[in-house]
Amino acid sequence: MDKICRTEIPQMLEISKVVQEAKGQKSFFFRKNIECRPGQFIMVWLPGVDEKPMAVSYHSKNGFAFTSHAIGAFTNKLDSLKKKDRIGIRGPYGNSFSPKNNACVVAGGVGMASLSNLIDVLKNPVVICGARSKQLLIYLERFRNKNIIAATDDGSFGRKGYTTDLLNEILDKSKKIKIVYTCGPEIMMKKVFEICEKYNVECEASLERYMACGFGVCGKCMIGDRIVCADGPIFNSKQLSKMPEFGSFARLKSGRKVTLKEFHSSKMVW
């Protein structure tokens, strides 16, 4: 489909509400009706600071929100914003999860934000969420009526251990789960994907790379010949299996390929 007269210019929108979701994690709400599918993201512009992709974490006909974890210069600045402040938004961008029955969702940290709209539309999903400790887990109240199980590194809530331990046990015990959706640290997602392969269960993962445009033009977010912002950010098992860089390498702003560890220590994503 041709996209003539596109408009991808940020619109300054007023923050209608700020919700503290967990330690260092806030949701910023906007009263604007946007068309958005589960797993899509928006570009958030703080004039004079930077512009970054953020998953749409709440979506209804009355508006939308994104949820940010304050861990870098950009997200710290976001953290200081209050109701009625205005910031620039464009999007949504990217493809979306394909909701199916008999699903399991595996969320690591603020990765839960890009899975939350999916959880809202899934039929009785098993939701595994994990974080370093209880105070970092988001949406526990929002999803209190869901079948939610947690893992924390320090054991302060749910199981002491990793989300992937729980996934392994669930897939081992029951043949009911047909698809696993995941978002979180890439090392975790890689593990989730490997477990899914082992049990022959379909997997969809939401990947993150440094982005500039958000609409498939700048080439900064490429993994091989895949453009994460436009072909993704959601990739399925078949696609993930053809991505040697998944879980291992990413490209810096400059385009240089580095290990995931070096990529994350560069802090350019946040």
Binding site: D2, K3, I4, C5, R6, T7, E8, I9, P10, M12, M43, W45, P47, G48, V49, D50, E51, K52, R86, G88, R90, A212, C213, F215, G216, V217, C218, G219, K220, M222, G224, D225, I227, R251, L252, K253, S254, G255, R256, K257, M268
Partner: protein
């Protein structure tokens, strides 16, 4: 019908991915080739690694696209390891280079030449870099860079990419030709700015950027038309080409091949095959057998 000979390089069609869009990874070259491009220009590389500007670095609306990515790139040394060679890919690859100092243009050209691209394009015209004195606006400096790059490129043809942000683009094209350039690429983006009146700030983090997209096309067609009357070397006409008609217009202005960059934004990555199909349809309807019949016909 669309076969094009550019400085001895045989292209299946005249559409070339312009530098700065997507050409970051080796795998992306193959994908753009699959989507119909006759050749692919890599994102520009210089002697060092550059992270480029903060975001927003690009956005578009209606017929206008702005970017100020700030020439990010992994640097030629890292690229040599990453790409290994450029002569064994599914489409001809054009290596785009630049430097800060004139001698650096030479060093980068030499390293790029060792990867065996089909052509080397020299970016003397990016509007975002502060060289002290802009190379793109000074015929003597443009000539000096051309000579330096030619000396370091062996038999690989060299195209000089020109900026429209000058008083007289003809004299720069003429200087490049006299200094030994095998082609010129015209044009780079026009310097521009968009201010968000609600934020009360320019949207681009760099404030000033380059304007591309359909709005740039009349400027590019004018430049190619003027250059065609001044030089004999081929012109890669670039700027706002979105449809087959735009490519034909550019060829009628005198272009040998056409660059497409922002067209990907407007029509998707398969813009190349779309443009080619539209060109062929128009040519069939008008009983034109090849591009030579149309090239430069708008003159005189």
């Amino acid at each position: 019908m669309l076969q094009t000979n550019l400085c001895g390089i045989k292209l299946k069609n005249p559409t070339i991915l312009a530098s700065g869009i997507l050409g970051v990874t080796k795998e992306s070259v193959g994908r753009i080739g699959k989507n119909g491009a006759g050749a692919v220009t890599l994102k520009s590389l210089c002697h060092e690694e550059r992270q480029g500007n903060s975001n927003p670095a690009m956005f578009g609306y209606k017929n206008v696209f702005l970017n100020a990515v700030g020439l990010p790139g992994q640097g030629i040394d890292s690229a040599m390891k990453d790409f290994q060679r450029l002569d064994n890919l599914s489409v001809p690859v054009i290596g785009s280079i630049y430097g800060y100092r004139i001698d650096q243009f030479g060093d980068v050209a030499k390293k790029m030449a060792s990867l065996k691209p089909a052509m080397i394009e020299v970016d003397i015209s990016c509007p975002h870099m502060d060289y002290g004195k802009p190379y793109y606006a000074d015929p003597a400096l443009a000539a000096k860079i051309t000579k330096t790059v030619k000396k370091n490129s062996g038999k690989i043809p060299v195209s000089i990419k020109l900026s429209p942000n000058v008083y007289d683009i003809k004299e720069i094209a003429h200087a490049a030709e006299k200094a030994g350039a095998d082609a010129v690429t015209a044009i780079n983006t026009v310097a521009g700015m968009v201010i968000d009146i609600d934020a009360k700030k320019p949207i681009l983090a760099n404030k000033i950027g380059g304007v591309s997209g359909p709005a740039l096309k009349p400027v590019a067609v004018r430049c190619v038309y003027e250059i065609y009357e001044t030089v004999k070397i081929p012109i890669i006409g670039t700027g706002g080409i979105t449809y087959g008609r735009d490519a034909i217009e550019m060829i009628m202005a005198g272009a040998t091949a056409v660059g497409i960059g922002t067209g990907i934004y407007y029509r998707g990555i398969n813009v190349f095959s779309k443009v080619c199909n539209e060109m062929e349809a128009w040519m069939k309807k008008n009983k034109i057998k090849n591009l030579d019949e149309m090239r430069g016909v708008a003159h005189g």
